[in-house]
Symmetry: C2
Subunit: 344 residues, 2 copies
Amino acid sequence: MSVRRPKDEKLTMAAIAELAGVSKPTVSKVMNGQPGVSAATRKRVERVIAEREYVRNGAARALSAGRVGSVNLVMSEVDSPYFVEIIRGVEETLERAELSMVLTTTHEEERRHRRWMARVIEHGTEGVILVLPDEHAVYVEELHRHGIPFAVVDDRGESLPDVPSVGATNFAGGFAATEYLLSLGHRRIAVIGGQPYKCTTARLAGYRAALQEAGVPVEPLLMQPGSFQAKAGYASANALLDVPEPPTAIFAGNDLQAMGVYRALYERGLRVPDDMSVVGFDDVPLVALLTPALTTVRQPVREMGALATRMLLRIVAGETLESARVELTTSLMVRESCAPPRRS
Amino acid sequence: MSVRRPKDEKLTMAAIAELAGVSKPTVSKVMNGQPGVSAATRKRVERVIAEREYVRNGAARALSAGRVGSVNLVMSEVDSPYFVEIIRGVEETLERAELSMVLTTTHEEERRHRRWMARVIEHGTEGVILVLPDEHAVYVEELHRHGIPFAVVDDRGESLPDVPSVGATNFAGGFAATEYLLSLGHRRIAVIGGQPYKCTTARLAGYRAALQEAGVPVEPLLMQPGSFQAKAGYASANALLDVPEPPTAIFAGNDLQAMGVYRALYERGLRVPDDMSVVGFDDVPLVALLTPALTTVRQPVREMGALATRMLLRIVAGETLESARVELTTSLMVRESCAPPRRS
């Protein structure tokens, strides 16, 4: 479904709802391929749509002249290589579908949010890809209301259950990183958290589970909170180095934090991995170039952007998704930043 | 000038040309605020435009309803933090002008190039910002032909003289980096080049000029060719370390090359800056986080993106630019990667 004139759109949605004897949100759900509608209702709505020639065949629309031809990618920031990978995944997929990408950053500001939403409603869009912002519930509600199809890149694991979204297996990633450090002989393994999102909770749960499985007690002193910035990694590493019995390995919340950890160690004349093993999370492109190259848990960020885009295009084409939520596999990229602990 | 319906647009351009008794390219030049038109001709064209109420007042247009509302940013790739900074500069400036940004990457492929150009012509645009691709002359000609306003972020220094473009002072940057290494006492200073663009030539000329001013002979063995990738820096550093009398400092072609240099040194057990001083070029965000933090020549990439956008918006608003080409100042960011050479 392509949204060009929001007023016509609303009329049409209302008309379909009336003719099918259902509510507008139900029509929106059917049109967006979302669950929560009975098979019978779905069929009734789809018949009305077909009768009114509200054809949502993607290929057919692609050939129609009045098509908006663009998808909006909305993210809070582009200030880390992480976001760039999402952009690449989205853009490549849209390019193959001969669609262009309108990129907006909101900086989590209400004013900017209002502005892009107004523009999308005024100028139309084929659909929206959200890189999950803090106010996602508001966005989702608004997009639903205007009948605008969307999908979410949700690395935070926070999206609502019936929202089409792509995430990553954070628990498995936290488990794999910790298990690897244990296998090298580490017992005092520190972890740095991130913003209080579900992804952070899941990674920490993976860390705890791996320790417990190995019979290593979880020590609160070795668990540092943090934001996903380098300076948080730097501060946390310094705090961890000042613990009476410091860790021999640090599992950072993400790659930027790991760079902050590198810096704290560098300033104290400690070497990675001889004096301290370090693991990151994300595998943004540059960390393979660090000295030593960072061992990290790869989130397939680009693929997550690409998959969210393919989900959106399927919704636009009127297909029903098998599952609203998909999680892609994380994998440990072993490089140079870990070694067995020094014998003390 | 906003381009919505290319057919109407062409008719209008043709009509103006006929009424003013000039060629269509001349009308295009006047409308795009470009030089190469006599004052008398410019006045005649502008009068015809005013008479036909072809008003190009930016503020007035911004309030008009039929506006396309978006600017196209076209770049070959987004695979380095460098391009991300350009995106940020463009997006911030467009956001303030309440315009959205359509981002396209061409990967320097003819097919993709054709596609975005076709889309711009079909769907319209307020204007285009090109991050100078290899085929820029073709692009420029085509945009001129369709009367589409544009500006160029031209860090390569390669753009045609009458094209609105923003670059950086590459000669001054090359000079400053070399002068700084000389001031630390280095005499065997190597340099790694980049793709054979004018920016590379200018940086190398700055390097040579600084050496000559200090009475230090330029040694061909210490000048390595390279592309702007980390692997080129890695290969060049290895080649330089195998020279009979290796350099004590390496001035890399850009920051990615510098990271490749770090890696080559790391693999040989050499330390930065104790065993080798390293300078980069660009100052992409992450290099301040490296250990040691990279000393580099800053190109104000974000500001270059912002300025090109402001130039485009002025052209769209019907203003005449004082100068088609503007170069922003580079500056040396002194961090931790340089020290006096070891006494041998």
